[in-house]
Symmetry: C2
């Protein structure tokens, strides 16, 4: 299984990786719309038709890049989660959010590929589901660890509508997350709202509106943490110097 069969399969793996690398380069430079199979092949010194031995279509290449992007973003979030072990839950939350934001700002076209308009066919393949869930799982882990340490309050929202309750119960069962129902609901909302904040910044909707991007994002994330039920230690509110070094 994991044994390398021969020179042929090894070459195939290498060429596939080279194609993805070059495609990612063009994606980062020009955006998904400008990504061209022929240009990738040209840069790699092969004929365009040869590329179809590795990816059945342009959309399949894009799908591969989508999965890679989800994984890269997920890794960034998980790294922030691991590094912030031990700090107060609200600060951990902000650390994970900032990691997501930083990755998005550093890779705007890849971010647009996964959280912008769904371009290939308008239906995401099944393979993207698991990588796409990694950021959400990282956010959830913050809440889980906070609960373990007894630092998780319950958000004082109104009662959950019945449909939301069944959704929340299913989510709790799937992820084996033994959290209060309002926390899971708040977490789901905060998850999407985080990408609202990040998307607005990356896509330029904050131009001429918000200039102090760093501070505004951090402040808004603190509010999100509160909404989820993560108690914030007073005083550490504006001091994100140690935890989140600038660049």
């Amino acid at each position: 299984m994991s044994v390398i069969r021969g020179a042929r399969q090894r070459a195939r793996i290498e060429v596939t990786a080279a194609i993805k690398d070059e495609a990612r380069r063009q994606l980062a430079a020009e955006g998904a719309a400008r990504l061209s199979l022929r240009a990738v092949a040209r840069e790699l010194g092969m004929v365009s038709s040869a590329l179809y031995r590795y990816f059945p279509s342009r959309d399949d290449l894009l799908t591969a890049l989508i999965i890679d992007a989800y994984n890269a973003l997920g890794e960034a979030a998980e790294a922030a989660l691991a590094e912030s072990k031990g700090v107060p839950p609200a600060d951990r939350w902000r650390a994970v959010c900032q990691a997501v934001r930083r990755w998005a700002l550093a890779h705007p076209h890849e971010y647009a590929l996964i959280y912008g308009s769904p371009v290939p066919g308008y239906t995401a393949p099944r393979d993207t589901a698991a990588p796409a869930a990694r950021v959400g799982r990282a956010l959830l882990a913050v809440a889980l660890d906070a609960q373990e340490d007894g630092e998780l309050g319950e958000p004082a929202d109104g009662p959950l509508p019945p449909g939301v309750r069944t959704d929340v119960e299913r989510i709790a069962a799937e992820l084996a997350a033994d959290l209060p129902q309002p926390v899971i609901a708040g977490l789901t909302a905060a998850w999407s709202q985080l990408f609202g904040l990040v998307g607005f910044e990356v896509f330029g909707h904050f131009n001429n509106v918000v200039e102090a991007r760093d501070e505004f994002f951090d402040h808004s994330c603190a509010a999100l943490a509160h909404q989820v039920g993560l108690s914030s230690a007073h005083g550490t509110h504006g001091a994100h110097g140690r935890l989140l070094p600038r660049e």
Copy 2:
């Protein structure tokens, strides 16, 4: 100025409108990526090159559609604002949010055009700024009216970071909005977070996660209203039957 000069100018206006209509049709049917100048010209019974007398390039056509989409969404939000005059501020807030969501779900490709990945050139023209601001202004109007009626509380967030304060002061001056600073900050965040919620639903990120979309969105919007400082009347929480008829 407003007098119609002759048959020629009248024809120009009509043809321009016909091109935009057909383009909008193809946009709604297939998405921005599949929109083809030649197909539009073909459908209109003219030669593709003739189309360049009206729009200098494909991107210019798309820009026109973007402005139209911003205006259509803005009108939907403003209509909800006008219709909900007199109801409690939190309910008004939810009504405007639901209007935005409904328009987005009804016009997913147009929504993707304006709030998805920025496709043309990666820099939005200046003409889009004013139409793009209409939804934000509608949300702001809810807070302004609430303040007039003395129904605006102050969100109990931490103190605003200094950079955010200057941003907020500039926004308050530009829009002549005499609101508490934390309200403006919360409003800006809620504005972007609203599009996080809507975008996740339209783009399918809630698939297999949230099924009770209507209830979840309404519940989350109530939380957003609270974050802004709009006091919600208890009891009307889950009853969105009268205010927001299903379809």
